[in-house]
């Protein structure tokens, strides 16, 4: 049972590592948030569940933590992205389309 827990925690750590690697490699704020959100959700989920399997009496608490992380992680990334958009941080040069202006204009109409 402990081995299973260690393997699952290991998978989680691997995904957390990939998320950090993505934050280093990708070109601008928005793409970095993509890596930051997805890999940390999965990574945290697996790490916490793995700990729950190693220590069975913590399992339900760990599951609760994992569910809360799954619900709150998108919200925090959304807040960061919206703030950076509002403060006018530009997209990187590889971007192909930006419909923000169209979206903003609708508000005034």
């Amino acid at each position: 049972m402990e081995l299973v827990g260690v393997i699952i925690t290991g998978i989680g750590v691997l995904f957390l590592f990939l998320g950090n690697f993505g934050i280093l490699r990708l070109p601008d704020v928005y793409n970095r948030i993509q890596a930051g959100t997805k890999c940390t959700t999965f990574g945290t989920f697996f790490t916490v569940i793995g700990i729950g399997i190693i220590q069975p009496e913590w399992f339900w608490k760990c599951l609760l933590i994992a569910v809360f992380v799954m619900f709150t992680n998108p919200i925090s990334s959304h807040a960061i992205a919206r703030a950076s958009k509002k403060s006018g941080i530009p997209l990187c040069d590889r971007s192909v389309v930006d419909q923000t202006r169209e979206f903003e204009e609708k508000e005034e109409a």
Binding site: L26, K38, H78, T100, E102, K106
Partner: protein
């Protein structure tokens, strides 16, 4: 948003759901069924229910029914599948030497009415491969897409939102 002044029986029912939800969190956290612990939990859940009831009503959660529950479970399963796909997708893009990204910001439309349903949709879009929600306004969502496949509104709505929307529409009908 739901009705501001729902039927009294419905209100009591909503209170009961909130109470059961809070109490189950308490039981998970304390991890015992001892008499004193349970009593404290019931007391605290009851007080919190009274305080939070008004905010909870504002969310406009629908009454629980069998069909809704089944669709909600299907929605959760689809979401889990998408989360797993999303992680391998990001891992692939990050590890690929040339980084196959084509980022952009697009608008999609939603047919959902309630705020809570829109929050769920926006959160699920954030957790699915290559997309996350920047902003919501009325029935439109601003989406950042790491690999833009279509710039036209209808087309991108179909590609990003539809797979969740069809379940959420039944849950919040």
């Amino acid at each position: 948003m739901g009705d501001n002044n729902p039927h009294p029986i419905l209100r009591v029912k909503n209170c009961l759901y909130l109470f059961i939800f809070l109490l189950s969190i308490w039981i998970i956290l304390t991890n015992t069924f001892q008499y004193e612990e349970l009593l404290t939990g019931i007391l605290i859940s009851f007080v919190l229910t009274l305080i939070l009831n008004k905010n909870y009503q504002k969310l406009g959660l629908p009454p629980i029914g069998l069909k809704r529950l089944v669709y909600f479970i299907i929605y959760i399963l689809v979401l889990l599948k998408e989360i797993i796909k999303a992680n391998f997708d990001v891992a692939y893009r990050v590890l690929h030497p040339k980084m196959p990204i084509k980022p952009g910001i697009v608008i999609i439309k939603t047919e959902l009415k309630q705020d809570i349903a829109k929050i769920l949709l926006a959160n699920s879009i954030t957790l699915t491969p290559g997309t996350f929600t920047l902003d919501i306004k009325n029935d439109e969502l601003l989406i950042h897409w790491i690999y833009v496949r279509s710039e036209e509104k209808g087309e991108s709505t179909k590609k990003i939102g539809k797979k969740f929307e069809k379940y959420l529409k039944v849950v919040f009908a």
